[in-house]
């Protein structure tokens, strides 16, 4: 089995749609189309160049069909794999495969959500699970909260260490003009905020915003003739260990171990080769768990690792440089925004929050309740 080829495809365009709070009656597909328009402009291509469509949203059961209609692309190669927030990292791998197989030549990966405008209940109604729903877990927060309870029990992770993740994200957000949150945040603020599901307060939980966007991918050969420096796909990996939290094999060990290992193997790289990390921070425990499972610290040491501002703007390891799902934007499924930020970091477009000399980035998507883990390693020409 040959598998995906390191560096065979590249991301050449990336853009957000409107984010935060969008205009009344804007639809999820409107935001996808707006993101596609802006991402194509970013790389100097036209809609008529697009022959691959990848998308997912909770606000439409058949989003690929809707997008084909909206964009009048009846012959596009389509894939609307949906496994929660990491769908878009999986789309990158699927697009890389389709580009290599010649099934398409220019692929766009798009997302849109108006969950803030229409309400979370309407934007992503939860399916009834006879073994969970009767106990009224406040999902997804309660699932991640139980993971945090277990991490604290097994490893002595503290409430303050969890809060440090939110504080670091906020410090990055204050450097990002597009971020939703504009005011400083302290550990004390996080602990004193409204409780949601113990041990989490509202500041341990991702934002609820609208938003969308798109990225454009093509083959490495074609990428070199486009306007901006290509961002190559060096490694991909995925692991889907469960769907419901009661079926997660071990609450303190996520499938990121396997998805990360696969991505590192394909990229022929290791954690110390990564210049910037974009980790899906739906809740503060995520960042700690993923730093462990992706090999940036030992299992159980994620709490002390994030203490003292190590992952904040002045720290030694840049993590979630746009402010993350905790402070920048989180429209239901956040995975596409990790990719957009990584592309911008590698193109050195990030202004005050730019990580100097970043040539490699690790993007880690998370879907469901730590269910669907997908890792993508990206790099510039220098990293090939």
């Amino acid at each position: 089995m040959q598998g995906l080829i390191r560096g065979s495809a590249a991301i050449i365009g990336a853009a957000e749609s409107d984010i935060g709070a969008v205009a009344a009656n804007m639809s999820a597909i409107d935001l996808m189309a707006q993101g596609i328009h802006r991402a194509l402009a970013d790389c100097g291509l036209r809609l008529s160049d697009v022959d691959g469509l990848y998308c997912a949203t909770t606000q439409g059961r058949t989003s690929a069909m809707s997008l084909c209609e909206y964009l009048n692309l009846p012959h596009a190669y389509t894939d609307s794999t949906i496994v929660g927030g990491s769908s878009f990292e999986i789309h990158v791998a699927h697009a890389q495969a389709a580009l290599a197989a010649g099934l398409c030549t220019v692929a766009v990966i798009a997302y849109g959500s108006t969950q803030r405008t229409v309400g979370r209940r309407q934007a992503s109604a939860r399916e009834y699970n006879p073994h969970e729903t009767p106990f009224r877990p406040f999902l997804p927060a309660s699932a991640y909260a139980m993971v945090a309870s277990r991490h604290m029990h097994e490893f002595g992770t503290t409430r303050e260490q969890l809060a440090e993740v939110a504080v670091a994200a906020r410090e990055w957000a204050l450097l990002n003009p597009a971020a939703w949150e504009k005011k400083p945040l302290s550990v004390t603020d996080v602990l004193a905020a409204r409780p949601i599901s113990d041990p989490f307060t509202v500041r341990d939980c991702c934002l609820i915003t609208d938003g969308g966007g798109a990225i454009v991918m093509t083959t490495a050969d074609r990428a070199r003739s486009t306007g901006k420096p290509p961002v190559y796909v060096l490694g991909c990996g995925q692991a889907i260990t469960h769907a419901s939290i009661s079926s997660m094999p071990d609450l303190t060990h996520s499938g990121a171990r396997e998805s990360g290992a696969a991505a590192y193997k394909m990229a022929r790289m290791q954690p110390s080769d990564m210049a910037v990390l974009e980790l899906y921070d739906a809740f503060t425990i995520n960042t700690i768990l993923f730093l462990e499972d992706l090999g940036f610290c030992a299992k159980g040491e994620g709490g002390p690792f994030v203490a003292g501002g190590r992952i904040a703007p002045k720290g030694s390891l840049p993590v979630n440089t746009n402010g993350g799902g905790l402070s920048y934007c989180h429209p239901g499924m956040y995975g596409l925004f990790l990719l957009i930020e990584a592309v911008r970091q590698l193109r050195k477009e990030c202004g005050d929050r730019q990580v100097p000399g970043a040539e490699t980035a690790l993007v880690h998507g998370n879907g469901g309740v730590l269910s669907a883990q997908a890792t993508v390693i990206l790099g510039t020409e220098a990293a090939l």
Binding site: P130, H131, E132, P134, F135, R136, P137, F138, S142, A145, M146, V147, S149, R150, H153, R194, P195, I196, S197, D198, P199, S244, I245, S246, S247, L251
Partner: protein, 127 residues
């Protein structure tokens, strides 16, 4: 092949109606299987036996949900002694008093109306 005359969930709920916590056991994998299914996730076999748990377990993870309206309540994951994990809640004590490692015992809660019976737990110190 004729259609199945009962479903995994249906059989499970029938046992709950009789105050029994039922689970499946895969003889080929020599493992408990929960939630109930039509095939074993470890072997792919459809040979699954129904067994009745003694109803004792240990709290594996816990949280207190702070609802916007109404009182706070507990949600927990319980490791049942026969080797499976399930979501439930621990009753009879304050939700904040539920802790990881606590021994608990199963009982059936009947919400009434159209709602099916629910497996819940209560503290069982010394069990």
């Amino acid at each position: 092949m004729p259609n199945a005359t009962s479903s995994p969930l249906g059989t499970y709920l029938d046992h709950l109606e009789k105050d029994e916590l039922a689970y499946q056991f895969s003889p080929e994998a020599n493992k408990a299987v929960f939630y109930p299914r039509v095939i074993c996730p470890y072997t792919g076999s459809d040979r699954l036996e129904w067994r009745i748990s003694k109803g004792l377990g240990t709290v594996y993870a816990t949280t207190v949900v702070h609802a916007q309206q109404g009182e706070t309540y507990n949600v927990a994951l319980v490791d049942v002694d026969e080797g499976f994990r399930m979501m439930s809640r621990v009753e009879d004590i304050a939700p904040t008093a539920v802790h990881i490692g606590m021994r608990v015992k199963f009982r059936v809660h009947r919400p009434g109306g159209e709602e099916p019976p629910m497996p819940v737990f209560a503290p069982a110190e010394g069990a």
